[in-house]
Assembly symmetry: C2
Homo-oligomer: 266 residues x 2
């Protein structure tokens, strides 16, 4: 354990940089904040570079309970409360954060699995995090993310994933059209949700499929719709034909579960 | 049209009060903000008490397009930009808001319908708004809300409903247990989602049912689980057995749609 009291310290300056997307991309690192998610990162064997604890947090019951082993092994950097506040991105900091190295290996689609989720320009961090959490809840472990989608390592996204970020393989693509061509060559059916079809998601066999979820306001982009094998509607009964994008993803992914799950699996 | 230039004006002081839950409850009024939702309130024939427009907004294309009739009829109160900022609850105000009178009639459950949604201590405004929006999307028009749930007329909730608030009958209850007893006497089956059961939502006939959705962290309260006719699990395949509450609501409500919808209805 070492103690940092200066905000000019190199580690502190580095972590502050990681609050910006461009530096997270440059260094392939990101910040997680809060006792529970740091504990989860340890349990999930993530590549943890540093754990930072503030002086106040070191005496809090929450931190002592969640991070007992870390504290006993003195496996953390202690900082003053005011330095912690420089690093924190929440209103009421718990005084714990960690720097995680992104997993840069196996960033490829695994075609032995039977489902891929594709995100085309999701903009809201809360929606993106909830989508990653929902994917994890159905055992879906690979998400292909378009360049225009909000950064998956943004602090708000990470908070909404509730730890799912450590279990799901996030594959970023610069060229979504090309990636979708590759998926089709691998005999996966590419499906987009759409209001302009009379085929419902309940009519489609959801197996060896790639499901494209589009932008909150504009849906899936035209180029991607043209590439897709099939358009499917989520049948609605109400006056509005409008669903929150994370809820829509949940409805489709749980239809996949309903079709494919064996009773002994849950 | 009248113009207000003083923040001491009675209408302005009244609207500022409505930012607080206790005054919304006392006056049975609430504020909606933004050109689109105000337009929707007009279309849905809500009881609009006032429409407030700022000087800047009066010249913006957005407001001119969305609220043409209101502006032509001079059916609004004009305020200075600085007064508008006192009323606004968003970071980048569009300069339009309206005061709506809550619909106090028919605040009873309609047992001719075949589904009721019950919310037991939902805490996050974004979740609550998304749940209301999702209910509206499946044509569910009645939601029973426990006293401990966040106020449905909170500005963040209203924003997340995307206008669904005008179409759904929100029935607030001081005594959820008593309300559930009444629902049961009316031959509705009361279902709670739970992890402690091997009956899945896909095994239950979702007709004449009341579905209870519980708190984000603690689920449905014990007293309510004891009253329920049936516990049902949303089968999951992942490592976490954790779903965002709005996504969970969506999964259950769309299973209701899947079971009951006729193809000619969508």
């Amino acid at each position: 354990m070492k103690k940092i009291i200066s905000k000019e310290n190199t580690t502190i300056k580095h972590i502050i940089k990681l609050k910006e997307k461009k530096y997270r991309a440059e260094y392939n690192e990101f910040i997680i904040e809060g006792a529970k998610i740091v504990k989860e990162a340890i349990e999930e064997k993530s590549n943890i570079k540093n754990i930072i604890i503030s002086e106040d947090a070191l005496n809090s019951e929450l931190v002592k309970n969640q991070l007992k082993a870390v504290i006993e092994a003195q496996n953390y950097i202690l900082v003053t409360n005011s330095i912690f506040n420089l690093l924190s991105e929440v209103e009421k900091p718990q005084g714990v954060l960690a720097v995680i190295e992104k997993n840069m290996y196996n960033k490829k689609i695994d075609y032995r699995q039977d489902i891929i989720l594709i995100l085309d320009n999701i903009q809201d961090p809360g929606n993106l995090g909830t989508i990653i959490r929902t994917a994890d809840s159905v055992g879906l472990t690979q998400i292909l993310v378009s360049k225009g989608t909000v950064d998956c390592y943004n602090s708000k996204v990470l908070r909404s994933t509730m730890g799912a970020i450590f279990r799901v393989n996030i594959i970023e693509t610069d060229n979504l059209e090309k990636s979708i061509e590759e998926i089709k060559q691998n005999k996966f059916k590419v499906i987009t949700t759409s209001l302009q079809t009379d085929k419902s998601i309940y009519d489609i066999q959801l197996k060896n499929i790639a499901i494209v979820i589009g932008n909150e306001a504009n849906g899936v982009s035209k180029e991607i719709i043209d590439l897709a094998d099939e358009k499917a509607i989520i049948p609605m009964k109400g006056k509005t034909e409008s669903l929150n994008v994370a809820v829509a993803t949940g409805v489709v992914l749980y239809e996949y579960v309903r079709q494919n799950i064996e009773r002994n699996e849950w």
